[in-house]
Point group: C2
Chain length 532, copies 2
């Protein structure tokens, strides 16, 4: 990689080749790729540190782990924002233009340039301040939540929002300030589009939820509660996951308090789930959900390994995969034609449960105050509420001290529930304390997109439900890999969506249709009104 004699810039200190002015394009590309590979290693090591912290680490490791994580993050950021990276990206423009847009090489340069331009806009001092405040705010939030006392969190929320405004000011003005925050989580998605989507969604879901609530006693989920020994839950979850694509050669499943999916590379996927010894649903559907995330990461083309393209295209697209496998597949009647007999074999007390009773139980709608415990129908309303409040906080149209009151009033309006205290209200989520403003919408974008993808997949393979009934999920997984997973992060979320469903437009239609059909049937609602 080292060439040339004259015109070299000083060698940086990471065993990189020199970045010489007379390098060829191939050499520049390899030099960029080498730097990105090292940065990718750091990010995957961080993922392992975090996985270990949640799943394996004894409490005594906490203080050192925080330092180790900070060191990894700092080094990755410094290596990525080095001026040589910017220079290589600039010099590689002609090389990029000479290659097909879809090629791995052009995509790596294009996506890296977009990442780089975002990263260098933010001064190190502001990044440091954001990290510092997030660390304090996280503790203040935990304390406030434990004490059901929003006032303890209020000053930190104020600081967080102030920093978010300074962050927004680092970038060229957007149509609206929230666009810049949302872009960190769902690149290229304008707030206006989300607003439009959510408005249509709310218009459909609020009345549907109200109608379902009127027939609440049509569904009984008592069969899901009882004596479910954890070791047998784990064995059952694994038997389900193996049908979805889990294998011991490339996956793990471990217990944890707050389930997540992680990985150390494309071929080492780590799922976590949570077991309640008296309630079977969380471990089963939680495993399916995380498996959806895992299948996406594991489906990325191996040609993208050790590059920043070796992950999902966006949080929304990622969530589309977890929701698809958890809800559309995992809570379908067809899948349980195969799984229910296996569940009954593992838990003899279920022997007399019939498929219809079970299917209705796992799809029971029950409006509540906690987002992460929400059912498939009401989940979106929790997110929409947060999306609306985030914009109002940023615009200054709500006073932060009034937030609890406003929160509770909207919960009553959207979900018909009375929030008992702030811990179960405005303080329930960790996101804002970490500075994640603009993150929540991706959860619902995922649900919406999952229905678009499902519609497309089913049109291509009409017998998918019949396959599920026979325990066959390979065709769906391979279709998803071919149309979505393999691309990793080569394309923007919209470009990626277009490759899967043929349009780059997120459309709530299929999702509203799916929810309406499903819950109208389960709750025996009159079909005409909601399907219009």
């Amino acid at each position: 990689m080292t060439r040339g004699t004259g015109g070299e810039i000083p060698e940086s200190r990471h065993g990189w080749g020199r970045v010489a002015v007379d390098m060829s394009s191939d050499e520049r590309y390899l030099e960029l790729k080498k730097r990105l590979a090292t940065i990718h290693d750091l990010s995957k090591v961080s993922a392992l540190l975090s996985w270990d912290q949640s799943v394996m680490m004894p409490p005594g490791g906490a203080a050192a782990r925080a330092e180790q994580m900070a060191t990894m993050g700092r080094m990755a950021h410094e290596l990525f924002t080095a001026p040589e990276v910017g220079r290589l990206l600039d010099e590689l423009r002609p090389f990029e233009a000479s290659l097909p847009y879809d090629s791995d090489e052009a995509s790596l340069i294009r996506v890296t340039r977009a990442d780089y331009e975002k990263a260098v806009n933010v001064p190190a001092s502001l990044r440091g301040e954001m990290t510092r405040v997030a660390s304090l705010a996280r503790n203040a939030w935990a304390d406030a939540r434990a004490n059901k006392d929003f006032a303890r969190f209020l000053p930190y929320l104020q600081q967080t929002l102030d920093l978010k405004k300074r962050y927004i000011d680092c970038f060229p003005p957007a149509a609206e300030p929230y666009d810049i925050l949302l872009d960190d989580f769902e690149r290229g998605m304008p707030t206006a589009d989300v607003r439009g989507l959510f408005s249509s969604l709310k218009a459909a879901i609020v009345p549907l939820t109200a109608r379902v609530a009127n027939r609440a006693d049509a569904v009984d989920d008592r069969v899901l509660y009882g004596d479910f020994p954890v070791d047998r839950q784990r064995a059952f979850c694994l038997s389900v996951l193996r049908r979805f694509g889990f294998s011991d050669a490339q996956w793990r499943l471990d217990p944890t308090a707050h389930p997540f999916a992680s990985n150390t590379c494309i071929t080492d996927i780590r799922l976590t789930t949570r077991y309640y010894p008296d309630f079977i649903a969380p471990s089963v559907f939680g495993s399916m959900h995380e498996c959806g995330h895992g299948l996406y990461e594991q489906g990325v083309s191996l040609s993208l390994e050790r590059t920043p393209l070796a992950r999902g295209a966006s949080l929304g697209l990622h969530e589309s995969q977890s929701r698809l496998w958890e809800n559309i597949v995992g809570r379908s009647r067809e899948a349980w034609r195969c799984f229910l007999p296996e569940l009954q074999a593992a838990f003899p007390q279920m022997a007399d449960v019939d498929l219809e009773t079970f299917y209705r139980a796992i799809n029971k709608v029950q409006p509540g105050f906690i987002r992460v415990e929400a059912d498939e129908l009401t989940y979106s309303l929790h997110v929409i509420l947060r999306f609306e409040l985030e914009q109002e906080m940023l615009a200054g149209t709500v006073r932060l001290e009034d937030l609890p009151e406003i929160w509770n009033a909207r919960m009553k309006a959207y979900l018909g529930v009375d929030v008992p205290d702030d811990a179960q209200g405005v303080l329930q989520d960790v996101h804002w304390s970490l500075g994640y403003v603009g993150y929540f919408p991706t959860y619902v974008i995922g649900s919406v997109v999952s229905a678009q993808i499902w519609e497309k997949a089913r049109a291509a393979m009409p017998d998918l439900p019949a396959q599920f009934a026979h325990g066959e999920f390979t065709a769906l997984r391979e279709w998803l890999r071919e149309h979505l997973h393999q691309h990793g992060r080569k394309f923007t979320p919209r470009e990626t969506l277009k490759k899967v469903v043929g349009t780059d437009r997120i459309d709530v239609g299929p999702y509203v249709q799916y929810l309406t059909t499903k819950f109208s049937e389960i709750y025996a609602l009159a079909p005409a009104r909601t399907a219009s």
Copy 2:
């Protein structure tokens, strides 16, 4: 940390403060410590990557893990050998001289300087070559061992030795070349001293082993074999380890194929062990052994955290701790007065085993060909054989192709056994393939030192054995912490030894005495001849 206006050298790219010529000594010290903390983070992250690879990682993670490990190692090495580190160490000489020798600050500067001077002697190109050959040699060794074919490993062993000679040439000449290799594992220990030790040891152990072999049927260890369900073995091991100092707040115990101890910081210690469902000894004594290593690392003063002093003083001293807990404590009659009833409660088939039978069983001497399976008495002979051969290989006084034959002849002479094939002979250990020449002696140094330390501890606390019989190990652990563990790597191995036993001389006397007394009693040998 940043001061000064003029005279600055260019800022390096790791968020370090600048190293300015007019920094104060305090500032320079803090700057050095900050750099070392980052390097320490990288090394502890490497330890976690390695632990995870052996204990948790699905096979699919292997290729990426190798890259991640290489990245961590490369960055740590580059950060450490940066010229700024050398300059800081130079400029800190007056500061160091102004502080007590024993202070954390003077020790950190002194030890870091010694490390630095060793590290910068070796050119990056040679380091790269050593890494590359080790990786190839490791595979060739595995292949050769699997096929019982030394010839497949021979060319790689030759390359490894050639590189070792080039490595030796990087340093100022020592009394003998082997000194330089040994120094990497046991700093400051001359080969001549080891030779002297081993010669005395061999003179005592070879005849003792022969006398024991004549009475081989005096000990029967059949009680250790039978039905030992793994979950109950684990529970029993944990109950033993908790008495030694294990706690869930700061420790883990996991199963693995090749047991080891590791840690991510002083307060997160990870032990591993191996369970055989039909043989109780390996998991129990293996756990005790690794616990000895863990107690050393966990006993290091917290004031040394995130510095290169936060570990044991040498491999030999480390091994002294594992051997002490495994053999001198763990295979003692007194400890089993407490543990045997607990073992019998866990495994009812042991109900009728009396203490004497059990004590003799766990101390059975059985000369064999495999080092890692050797008993306490014959273990040293395996190591002495390797130490002798390493020097001869380096001096060129043996031809490498004759190694298998020489190996087998010496095994017959030292241990009286016939080696059936090279896999169970010269190819049994991985060390040489990794370039670890000079490592083996530390195993026996550890055994020898463990007896010196035990003699000293027992002189200070004569009732230690009585405490063991009551399941009390706290006094021994705390004594070791105070006299050895807390110092970490502040002092040289000899200085450290002096702090524990009052002399910096390694003395085989106590170890020979210990072995002679113990095995003469167990095998009912005439006492006079061997105790002279």
